[in-house]
Symmetry: C2
Subunit: 176 residues, 2 copies
DNA sequence: GAAACAAGGTTGAAGCAACAACTATTCCGT
DNA sequence: ACGGAATAGTTGTTGCTTCAACCTTGTTTC
């Protein structure tokens, strides 16, 4: 039997604030990183994925799927990051069609410098707003939604890995 | 005393899936509405806000704050919606600086046609993925985050209002 | 061993968002 | 009542995302 064609009041009271978060939170993430490091949140995420990979190297297609993005989008982003000296591109040794992206030293330093401010921002606007119980609930909820949006869970496969090596004790920040 | 400069494993396990949802869910919303109705989710939201207002009329600045957007952005969006015949603009009677946006009949019909598909999409990817308890938790969590992102809670003031009039029993859809 | 097809990326054009600059009206103070 | 400040929107420019077309290289198939 068909359900209501519009939201029930119950549903609406859940959906409306979620939509507001979807609208505002990404903007806040971009605003802070843009202001402090001239990076988009997506830029930062891509660079972080590279620091998480040993060898600091990753295939374009692997990066794309790990960052929930498309190849064209990633290609443009990586081109810009390359021009700024944060990554380098090289044809993969084993497959001449493929491209490997390598994090440069500058790129690695950039991530180390950018991370504390980003973490602080995420805590201020998200994590610190929640009780420990709510954090645990949010984890389950986000994973449940993610299973629908991305049944393969490509992102979680890699991004949920270990902490960024050497980051935990990164010394006081000096901008590059 | 200062906290860790990078995420704790605990924090990361909450944050990473949330980032994935922030990346994928808006795209899914836009994709469905774009494919079925040639509307962005933001377009749809703006039109819906107008149907929720009695008189189907609303001041630009009120619309902007209710939709968590900026005036320039809204101005462009409304200009496009006006060209497509879904809204009209008129100078406010009481203040010649201000602009009132009025939903046309076509615009109202458009919302009625678009809503069932959108609601179904939201249920498929979000609401139906959660238990009733989780829905309640998500409501609290989203509101808590929202209080940080938007202390004025401008959006909730209006968007959480009553259901769209006449929508509950909208008859079977024929595309315009 | 070529021809067809698939896989991996890149590039260019079009659309939307953000920011800054600008216009027009209203408010305020003296 | 006049000049300056504030309010309400619009417009143009720039940057990012998407989509489609394209170019290589690799893989099948007959």
């Amino acid at each position: 039997m068909p359900r209501s064609r519009s939201f029930t009041p119950e549903e609406r009271s859940t959906w409306v604030p979620l939509v507001a978060v979807l609208e505002l939170l990404p903007k806040q993430l971009d605003a802070q990183l843009q202001a402090d490091e001239a990076l988009t949140h997506f830029d930062y995420f891509v660079l972080t994925m590279l620091t998480l990979t040993e060898g600091h190297t990753r295939r374009m297609s692997a990066l794309a799927s790990a960052s929930n993005s498309t190849l064209p989008r990633l290609s443009h982003v990586v081109a810009r990051l390359e021009q700024r000296g944060y990554v380098q591109r090289q044809t993969a040794p084993d497959d001449a069609r493929a491209t490997d992206v390598v994090l440069t030293n500058d790129g690695h330093r950039k991530v180390l410098y950018a991370t504390p401010g980003h973490v602080e921002n995420v805590r201020r606007y998200v994590l610190d707003a929640l009780t420990p119980e709510q954090s645990a609930q949010l984890r389950e909820i986000a994973q449940a939604i993610l299973r629908r949006l991305d049944p393969e869970a490509k992102m979680l496969a890699t991004a949920a890995g270990d902490a960024v090596p050497g980051l935990r004790d990164a010394s006081r920040n000096h901008r590059p």
